[in-house]
């Protein structure tokens, strides 16, 4: 390993946002032709670390050496000059520009010369991509190719790939891996951020596990197997065993409370399943498998083309979101910041936002609001200075608890939880799991949507696996294993 030329070295990087210590002394190293896989749960600090590398955030402490030379990453242009290029998870293209304009923007060299080099590069790689297309007509996979072309044309020596396969189809993933191998052969070093262990063993030369802002495991990939990695990912003091104690008999003889029948919409098709009282049905699937589109359609936000959703034999199809909430179904959205919280409003306003007309007639009934809010703060152990604290000053975990409180305030019979633990720390995750168990005990039916297979594994009574927009595989409690989930969700 040490024979290879070192590209970049990070030493003791610290970073915090407000009160949240995201990185606690991270050290990393990348040499020519290496692919260092960085894995870690949500909120472990992977993206923050890469943004520091790219000069988007500035580190609080620590040193960065490029080619053994200390550098100060003050802005993205410094990073670009040093040959670092980040391919973000969500490609940041200019939607109104053509592919060529997107790639060539920001260069200082002569345009026609660059253009010639670009054509040469594409030919060399053997890719098919029309340079005159507008970026807003490209698929996510194509957008990622554009991002990579950008990086290559800049003669980047260090590529940062932030979960590049999360939005790709199976075939696209395969050709993407081929591309990575080509680049590797050319001596380009890559940081490869992912949460898919199978990809680590397929692609990486080295592996690093980040957990809660520190590196728990690192070394050449040959030294590891899946079990060690999973152990490294798990929060301390947790066992891989399922929480058997919480198991209670679910009465499957009764009619299911929620029945989804052949539901088809944009992004999902022919999805059928049902959920019983007191049951947690896991709906596993990677990003882009259509799970969120499905959930939004059930909730009256997205469009339904065919099929039906029945809540206690009453169809929810065509009802407004307000009416669906009144019928007894509520939804914890996938993207907390975009769809979940009112960041400038206080805890009380957030909690009662879905039941305003129930709490008050015309004038706000503050007393009743306070009662309801207090109940959730106590029940969920939400850490707040008071009910008047603004949501944006809470940690991610506490924000999520408030959102769950808001959903429960409407007394639902069915709760749809979409990625309930995304972006929150390990402690809060445990709390959320406890809340989910509580709800189950109270007899609620829970549809748990997650791309975090460990979550499904730990919580679900049964699991449906979404792949390419439809639920292809059903797993009973005993059949839910990481392997089965991974296989089914990748269509392999």
């Amino acid at each position: 390993m040490s024979k290879k030329k070192s590209l970049i070295r990070l030493e003791g990087i610290w970073k915090s946002f407000a009160d949240n210590q995201v990185l606690k002394g991270v050290s990393l190293h990348l040499s020519e032709g290496e692919i260092v896989a960085i894995i870690g749960g949500n909120g472990a600090g992977k993206s923050t670390l890469m943004k520091i590398l790219m000069g988007i955030y500035t580190k609080d402490r620590g040193e960065i050496y490029i080619n053994e030379e200390k550098v100060h990453m003050s802005s993205p242009s410094v990073a670009l000059d040093k040959g670092i290029y980040l391919v973000p998870q969500e490609p940041l293209l200019f939607p109104n520009m053509t592919v060529e304009e997107n790639i060539l923007i920001g260069f200082r060299q002569n345009k026609s010369e660059l253009s010639a080099r670009l054509h040469e590069l594409i030919e060399q790689l053997g890719w098919e991509i029309a340079l005159t297309r507008k970026a807003n007509t490209l698929s996510i996979a194509e957008q990622q190719l554009v991002e990579i072309l950008r990086g290559l044309l800049r003669e980047a020596k260090i590529l940062i790939l932030d979960e590049p396969t999360s939005a790709l189809t199976f075939n696209e993933v395969q050709s993407f891996f081929q591309l990575m191998k080509d680049l590797q052969a050319k001596g380009i070093g890559m940081f490869y951020i992912t949460h898919r262990l199978s990809e680590v063993f397929e692609m990486a030369t080295d592996v690093v596990i980040l957990r809660d802002g520190t590196i728990t495991v690192s070394g050449p990939v040959e030294e590891f197997d899946r079990e060690i990695l999973i152990k490294g990912l798990m929060p301390e003091n947790t066992e891989m065993a399922k929480a058997e104690g919480e198991r209670e008999a679910i009465d499957y003889s009764q009619a299911p409370i929620l029945k989804v029948d052949g539901l088809t919409g944009y992004g999902f098709r022919d999805v059928s399943f049902d959920v019983h009282k007191g049951e947690i049905l896991g709906l596993a699937g990677v990003v882009g498998s259509g799970r969120t589109e499905l959930a939004e359609a059930i909730f009256g936000v997205g469009e339904i083309i065919r099929g039906d959703v029945l809540l206690e034999d009453k169809s929810l199809k065509g009802l407004s979101t307000m009416e669906i909430i009144e019928e007894g179904l509520n939804y914890v959205p996938e993207d907390r910041h975009l769809h979940g919280i009112f960041h400038m409003a206080d805890v009380r306003m957030n909690t009662t936002s879905a039941i305003l007309s129930r709490v008050s007639k015309f004038f706000i009934n503050k007393k009743k609001e306070t009662e309801i809010t207090k109940k959730f703060i106590d029940d969920f152990r939400i850490k707040v200075t008071g009910q008047g604290q603004e949501l944006r000053s809470l940690s991610g975990g506490n924000q999520q608890k408030v959102v769950i409180g808001r959903i429960l305030s409407s007394d639902p019979k069915v709760v749809v939880l979409d990625e309930p633990t995304r972006g929150i720390d390990a402690g809060a995750r445990g709390d959320v799991y406890k809340i989910i168990h509580q709800l189950k005990k109270q007899g609620l039916a829970i549809l748990l949507i997650s791309s975090d297979f460990e979550e499904i594994f730990e919580l679900a009574d049964r699991a449906e696996v979404m792949c390419h927009g439809t639920n292809t595989v059903q797993l009973a409690k005993e059949e839910i294993t990481m392997d089965a989930l991974t296989h089914a969700s990748f269509g392999a």
């Binding site: 979940g340 709490v359 706000i364």
Partner: protein
């Protein structure tokens, strides 16, 4: 974070301090300024701004803006005058119809913004042309002199602008009454709560079952109504119905709302703030005149207030001048 929160609570207080300072300075320049009836009567000048600003607060909290309200002031004034003089409506029927026209104008704005999805700024730019244009067309057809407008209203109508009640000029009563209504509506009802939630995060509001389109539509109707009332008031006060009554009012209105602490990007704001800011602007107009400055200085003052107020507000957030400077300073001190 905590500091930011404190700051927000202190905004209204700073406005009070600003108001007192303003009164003291102008009083020091010209002692006549401090006479109570002068101060009370000054309300005549700024009450039109306040009537619109109070309800504009709702629109801006939802994250929108409405720059067509100056045109609505003129249109409602013209409609009223026309119905009364040319079509022989009773004066109060005419007033009612004019207010209805204002509400409809607001509804059209709201429709364009909420249902069609045109940016608020663009939609109301277009309607500001349209409404002002309609006033001109009405005047053009009826052959009224644009310069003089319609005059000769009955005394009962003139009382709106000139009457007194318990020693208070009608303008003050109208101002306070509207402020109380706006306050209760925004801060004490579920409707106001929905307005805030829509402004903070429209998508999350939708996921909470709030019909945000209707909320946005209704805020535009409110401000349209407010502007029409302002149009009626100014028609009564100046005893003339003209198309250009509200021509330059929009700068003052937006300044009042923003100076009052309402965030131009939506989500926060208060009626008390807008109320105080309206008075500050009104007294500044009066004070500058009484200090012997030409009226044109008012524009400079209001513009400065607007820019300074928003700059201070923007400087409190993340990723702006102050935090940039702070970061730079910290870096260098290391």
């Amino acid at each position: 974070m905590e500091r930011l929160k404190n700051f927000k609570g202190k905004w209204d207080l700073s406005l009070v301090v600003l108001l007192i300072t303003e009164i003291l300075i102008f009083g020091w320049i010209n002692p006549r300024f401090l006479r109570i009836h002068v101060l009370l009567n000054s309300a005549n000048d700024f009450v039109t701004v306040a009537m619109i600003a109070l309800f504009m607060t709702f629109v801006i909290i939802t994250g929108g803006i409405d720059i067509s309200m100056g045109s609505v002031v003129g249109l409602s004034s013209v409609v009223m005058g026309l119905l009364w003089q040319e079509l022989g409506f009773g004066i109060w029927t005419a007033v009612f119809c004019a207010i209805l026209v204002g509400t409809l104008c607001g509804a059209f704005n709201g429709f364009l913004v909420a249902f069609v999805g045109v940016q608020a700024m663009v939609a109301t730019l277009g309607t500001s042309f349209l409404y002002a244009g309609i006033s001109l067309v009405i005047i053009g057809f009826s052959g009224i002199s644009a310069a003089e407008g319609i005059t000769g209203f009955p005394d009962s109508f003139r009382a709106i602008g000139h009457g007194e009640f318990m020693g208070l000029p009608s303008s003050i009563i109208l101002f306070v009454a509207l402020a109380v209504i706006a306050y209760i509506l925004l801060h004490r009802t579920t409707y106001g709560r929905r307005v805030f939630l829509t402004g903070i995060n429209r998508a999350a509001a939708e996921f909470s079952g709030i019909k945000t389109k209707l909320i946005i539509l209704s805020t535009h109707m409110l401000v349209g109504t407010g502007a029409a009332i302002a149009g009626i008031y100014i028609t009564s006060y100046l005893s003339s119905s003209r198309a250009d009554h509200g021509a330059t009012i929009i700068l003052s209105v937006i300044t009042a709302v923003v100076l009052g602490g309402t965030s131009i990007t939506g989500g926060e704001g208060s009626i008390i703030g807008t109320f105080l800011a309206s008075i500050i602007i009104g007294l500044m107009t009066l004070g500058l005149q009484m200090a012997g400055m030409p009226t044109q200085f008012t524009g400079i003052g209001i513009g400065l207030l607007l820019v300074v107020a928003v700059s201070i507000k923007s400087s409190m957030g993340e990723g702006n001048l102050i935090s940039d400077l702070k970061r730079k300073f910290q870096k260098e001190s290391k």
